[in-house]
């Protein structure tokens, strides 16, 4: 069932997250091309090796993004994918690329997501729609009619309602939730690329930060940054002649059922359960085989739910699990070793890709100061919207 494990991540590119980006502004097709070049260079491949593109975050066009990108980089491709899974886009791109490669449709697929400010035209369009976040305000959109008018829009209030439901069913300890942010900040302080490098925090800092939407504190919520990420996914034949230790994509799963959390079948039993079971079954390994987890962390509550629902602890045991484990890169359950998006920064759609690039870098042994001593097997989760699109990957080195 699932992937055979015959495709690998062979190259990685990251745009350093910046809270207040300075320097040259480029269009997203230009950034996409830069990411592709960097990731190909990292693999020891060239532009002429590309025969597949997987595209998201191209802001110069609302349609036909893959052909826009292929034309721009001068590539004739056999796979032109556009992935629309919010924060699960990066993970979703990677298993689709691996499946296409295993099916013989392509050999070298660049999956890239740019998320940096783009140059503005002389008369910039209205920014009025930006308050709606991932919610659609278009006429006929269920959200526009039944959710946005009540103020239920963007992400904070949705995740806050998830946390309150969790508290009512299983109990809550805000200090344990805060510890997730603190351990990840420890990781970020060993990652010079992280947005919060050099800024350690304590549980008290988290709990003393303002409550944005009860029970979520400011420091439990991702920091938007400029950035971007990319990987090159290649066939076994290509992987043999690339520079890095291949990162085999041995398991994958995907699950979603809703856009707005109001309509989720169960707000605190999340789709990652099914995605993770499928990924582990496909890879033929168990949870105890995992050296590191890279868990989509838009909010601390997302991490807690993912630990439980992906099967690293029992349902309702996440708070004890967090209390009992050291989640840092030197700890007994390394999680989000780059700092996670909470401390590395969330570069829009590319935020989820950072979990993939970090996992690949750890397996390749080139993560930097926060490199783990041993990292051969990683579990990655992607999460879009409010616990909506969820994707799981198992990545393994030889």
């Amino acid at each position: 069932m699932g992937l055979r494990g015959d495709a690998a991540i062979v190259g990685v590119a990251e745009i350093k997250p910046e809270r207040k980006p300075v320097g040259e502004q480029l269009f997203s097709i230009e950034r996409w091309a830069e990411l592709a070049r960097t990731a190909l260079n990292d693999a020891g491949l060239t532009a002429r090796d590309i025969d597949g593109v997987s595209v998201a975050g191209i802001r110069e066009t609302s349609m036909f993004a893959p052909s826009t990108v292929a034309e721009y980089i001068g590539a004739e491709v056999n796979l032109a994918d556009y992935v629309d899974l919010g924060g699960a886009t990066g993970t979703g791109m990677i298993w689709r690329a691996a499946a296409a490669i295993e099916a013989g449709m392509a050999d070298v697929v660049v999956c890239a997501i740019p998320s940096t400010p783009i140059p503005q035209p002389p008369n910039p369009p209205s920014m009025a729609g930006r308050f709606f976040g991932a919610s659609s305000a278009a006429f006929g959109s269920p959200q526009a009619e039944f959710d946005i008018p009540y103020g239920n829009l963007a992400q904070n209030c949705g995740y806050a309602m998830v946390a309150n439901r969790y508290a009512a069913e299983f109990g809550y300890d805000e200090a344990a939730l805060a510890k997730i942010a603190v351990d990840q900040r420890t990781n970020a302080c060993a990652n010079p690329n992280a947005a919060f490098f050099g800024q350690p925090i304590t549980v008290e800092d988290v709990l003393n930060s303002p409550v944005i939407a009860d029970p979520l504190h400011l420091l439990e919520i991702v920091m938007p940054v400029s950035g971007g990420g990319a990987v090159v996914v290649a066939s076994k034949e290509i992987a043999k002649r690339t520079k890095n230790r291949p990162v085999w994509i041995t398991g994958a799963g995907e699950r979603l059922a809703s856009k707005t959390p109001t309509y989720m079948p169960d707000l605190v039993r999340t789709p990652i359960k099914y995605a993770a079971d499928r990924a582990f079954d496909g890879a033929g390994i168990t949870r105890s085989d995992i050296d590191m987890v890279s868990i989509y962390d838009c909010y601390t509550i997302t991490v807690l739910l993912s630990f439980e629902d992906a099967g690293f602890c029992g349902k309702g045991e996440g708070i004890d699990f967090v209390r009992e484990h050291d989640l840092t890169y030197k700890g007994d359950f390394p999680s989000n070793t780059h700092g996670g998006q909470l401390s590395y920064g969330q570069a829009g759609l590319a935020g989820g890709m950072s979990h993939c690039t970090e996992s690949a870098n750890q397996i390749m042994g080139k993560a930097g100061p926060h490199q783990m001593d041993k990292c051969d097997t990683v579990f990655v989760s992607g999460n879009g919207g409010i616990l909506s699109e969820q994707v799981a990957l198992v990545l393994q080195g030889d």
């Binding site: 009025a128 308050f131 709606f132 305000a137 006429f139 006929g140 269920p142 526009a144 009619e145 039944f146 959710d147 946005i148 008018p149 009540y150 103020g151 239920n152 829009l153 963007a154 904070n156 209030c157 806050a160 309602m161 998830v162 946390a163 309150n164 439901r165 508290a167 009512a168 303002p210 409550v211 944005i212 939407a213 009860d214 979520l216 707005t260 959390p261 109001t262 309509y263 707000l267």
Partner: protein
Amino acid sequence: MDKPLPVPTPTTQPFWDGLAEGQVRIQQCDDCNHWIFYPRHLCSNCLSSELSWKDITGEGTLYTFTVAWRPTAPMFADEVPQKLAVVELDEGPRLTSTLVNIEPEDIAVGMRVKPVFEAVDDADITMLRYEPT
């Protein structure tokens, strides 16, 4: 920017007409008896087109909530603290609403709630808000 208001569609108009009359009215599938919210063209359980509008009490339990101390968007600044709610109707479906006539510290998951029909000034729309029973 003005506060965004619902714009009924041909499919959803009976729901909004009900609210204007002080009545919660949702769809039920004639084929599988599934209760449906938000209103749809087809049943969200069996994709049947045979849906009927039914008047219900609109009462339910509070499935979850949050109190937003920062506005969820600038247009909602006048509502802070926003008491955002997900209500589970007694028939089963959930809907998004806001709570009125209750203080933030008194809100609890699982509490019984009932509809409050709030006609919006200068607009031909009635919002469905909730208060404790």
